[in-house]
Symmetry: C3
Subunit: 345 residues, 3 copies
């Protein structure tokens, strides 16, 4: 399917600057654009690519001023990235495999409830007493344990595992390999140093509009629940331990690890490979740089970095000092030389 | 099911302090207790919650002295956490889905051996010549490769993968997504920098009473075995490379990575996101703080932290020095100023 | 099956030093050798084991000079590790389960194409329009989404998940739990701080001769492709974000994380737990020590370490300075004492 610059501009509320009849049928990154593709310019770091791109259409900010000739037709919009997002959504719906019905063989316990419009892929397993909402997509080889509840329009991709008793909200997306509700890591050593399991009888509760990345693990609570609040977005390979709470609209990049009973506020942004100690409180709106390690909690709106984590400004100063350490040693050598020579003057 | 404080105290060998007839039917964390729940106080950090908890019963230490009135009935015991663990075990057995028999469709090779009392979930695969002990639970979509042996009472949760030839002991628990016996990472470059695979013909051997977390990976040996000894507990998303050995009763938090041929002693405690270089020896009883990096081995009983790892005391001092670096630069500036001004006096 | 030292030497082009008739039937590490096993000595760190090994045959370098008597028969070769690799390959082919044909039940869409000699394990899923080459092995419970293409002789181990539209080359090996083509992590916040999904309509493209470790995740591109070039070897639990490119013959140890749109050159070596920021360019032949963090790109042939990463030499000096910080503080204390006492002299 092809769309002209004029049609696209109308759909996203933009203004055409160039040939309104040029047509595109797919998307490309600006540096990889070919004729017939649409691209966008949002990150200023990529501005120089606009002068050489082969793409037919580029979404740009309303106030974009070209410093050299641009061959492509421009569509000027308030926020090119949002406009792109809207177009991608349309394209995605057209491109995604349309799935519905129950593929065979699959396993659906007799007393499981399944809403209207669901897809259940082959080799998927839906256990005893599970309650699945409407239009839920359960891809092949996914596992829904006994007593699990899943809200409307949620998607479990191929091979997702949800242990018994956990609750997942509406409009969630859970990617392949994610494991929801495995036992929290609880063991108590005896006098001989042999560890005995503490049974984990709590659950995981995931609210609406949460996305969970591939191979991420969210452990069930010892008692009570591990709680992922509305709108949280977790990337791949993240560890969420037992009894953790993650506040609404918090986003985390991949490979973050959160130890048990830690509470993370709402609206936080967490970089990749960050580690959180257990039993700490991270306040709303905390921003945490990649690879940081938090041994203690934060105040609202904190911006921290490093392991152990410290305020960003302090971290930057510490790095600057470290770079000048060699010079500092030399300066102290020189001071000693001079004060020693004074002594014998 | 309900139990009174009196019944519970008798079961765990405790002493009732308050109303022995108050009854509970579930568990809660102390800060989330509601009437009808039992909770516990082990971590002194949570002591203040006991004065406000709505829980009906609290397990406390024998010597606990309340500094304000406590509404709940107390049960005094030697170790509240152990007592709780015993109660959780009873509750867990009552709550867990009771599974037995062979669900269909599943795949069990003709020459596989299956002991009495096993559960095999739908879509589970048991390969050629596998030997499964008694009362083993193999959840749906788990994979047991050719020639694998599994001891009595072991549980493989949904989707666990065990490659051919590996051995797993008795009473082990392996969580969803764990991969046991994938090829070790062995490649040799030729003169052109092209890597050629070194076939990995060894196995993984897991002794009795081991627990392995969700999405953890334990690679097979190049030759011989990768060996996880009795009682080891591994959390989620841990990497254990080829030919690693982990000694008995060692516990590791999530996202730890261990490179090839490293030997880790018994009774070690390893924090989250720690990395071990290959071919090193970590002694018995080593304690390693989160996010540490070990480029070399340790002595028995070492307590280390940091990347590169150093003794805890040294690490603490290094952090203290780093905090005072700015002041140190200022002091050297001042010394230079004074010695320079002296010169011209 | 047994082979004599004479037969083995002839096969690998080596020279027997000792009893050419001694026979072996398996392999062992040098410190674990038993009679009837063959071992090798490549890492000088292990040299002392050769004098005590019980192994019957040891592969050594041509120029190896024993400093004590060696009981084993030696086979002298140019490169013992390569020679071992050749022998392991023969052994591996003999030992590996021979798999072929289509196990039942499996799910193969009517319009999927399957080349000659393929193996499809039970509970494997091959979606609508997928194109599978010759001699491909798709183990049980693997998932091949709609429109996926897979080249000849590739192996997908049990439980691998490949989302729709992705392309995998020939002779690739993908280990259990790996997830190829899950959505990239793309969300745009609105004015209320609520995140909205950016649909990810690109694909993952994996060229020939790539190996991908267990539970590693490679996300699909927002637009265009995430690209793993020929001969790349990725260990377990690695995160490759959307639109990343990894150049040919680059190898990465486990738990590495690469953020979106980063380009990594060819012939790079990346240690375990390294993190890469997004949108950076890492040049060909870069060597990166374990646990490093790269906030910016590198020049060709760079050797870097640390978080933030710096040249190896600078990193070593920084560690050396840190070790002497305590002494430096003491030296400055002393200088201040002396200059203060001078003042009043």
């Amino acid at each position: 399917m092809q769309f002209t610059a004029g049609q696209i501009a109308q759909y996203i509320g933009g203004e055409v600057d160039g040939d309104a009849d040029v047509a595109v049928s797919s998307f490309a990154k600006i540096e990889e654009g070919t004729p017939g593709t649409l691209t966008f310019l949002a990150n200023p770091k990529y501005t120089h690519f606009i002068y050489g791109t082969q793409a037919s259409i580029v979404l740009v900010r309303k106030d974009f001023v070209a410093e050299q000739p641009v061959a492509a037709t421009l569509i000027r919009v308030g926020d090119p990235y949002s406009a792109l997002a809207r177009l991608l959504e349309v394209a995605s719906q057209a491109m995604r495999p349309q799935l519905s019905g129950i593929e065979q063989p699959s396993y659906i316990a007799e007393d499981a409830e399944l809403g209207e419009g669901c897809y259940v892929g082959a080799f998927a397993y839906i256990g005893h007493g599970a309650k699945i909402g409407k239009n839920v997509k359960i891809y092949p080889q996914a596992y829904v344990g006994a007593g699990v509840s899943i809200g409307d329009d949620t998607v479990l991709y191929a091979g997702v595992k949800v242990y018994h008793g956990c609750n997942i909200g509406a409009r969630c997306v859970i990617h392949s390999g994610a494991v929801i509700g495995a036992d929290g890591f609880g063991f108590a050593p005896d006098a001989q140093g042999v560890y005995h399991k503490i049974e984990q009888i709590g659950i995981v509760e995931i609210d609406d509009d949460v996305e969970i990345g591939a191979n991420t693990t969210v452990d069930r609570a010892t008692m009570g629940r591990t709680h992922i609040c509305r709108g949280v977005k977790l990337d791949n390979l993240i560890q969420v331990a037992h009894n953790v709470e993650i506040g609404h609209d918090t986003v985390m990049a991949s490979q973050v690890g959160i130890a048990g009973s830690t509470k993370i506020g709402s609206g936080c942004m967490v970089g990749g490979q960050v580690g959180f100690a257990g039993h700490i409180d991270v306040a709303d709106g905390t921003f945490i740089g990649a690879q940081s390690g938090l041994a203690k909690g934060t105040d609202a709106g904190a911006r921290i970095m490093g392991s152990p984590a410290m305020p960003m400004g302090e971290y930057a100063r510490m790095l600057a000092y470290q770079k000048k350490l060699g010079a500092l040693f030399a300066r102290v050598d020189e001071l000693e030389r001079r004060i020693n020579s004074q002594k014998y003057e």
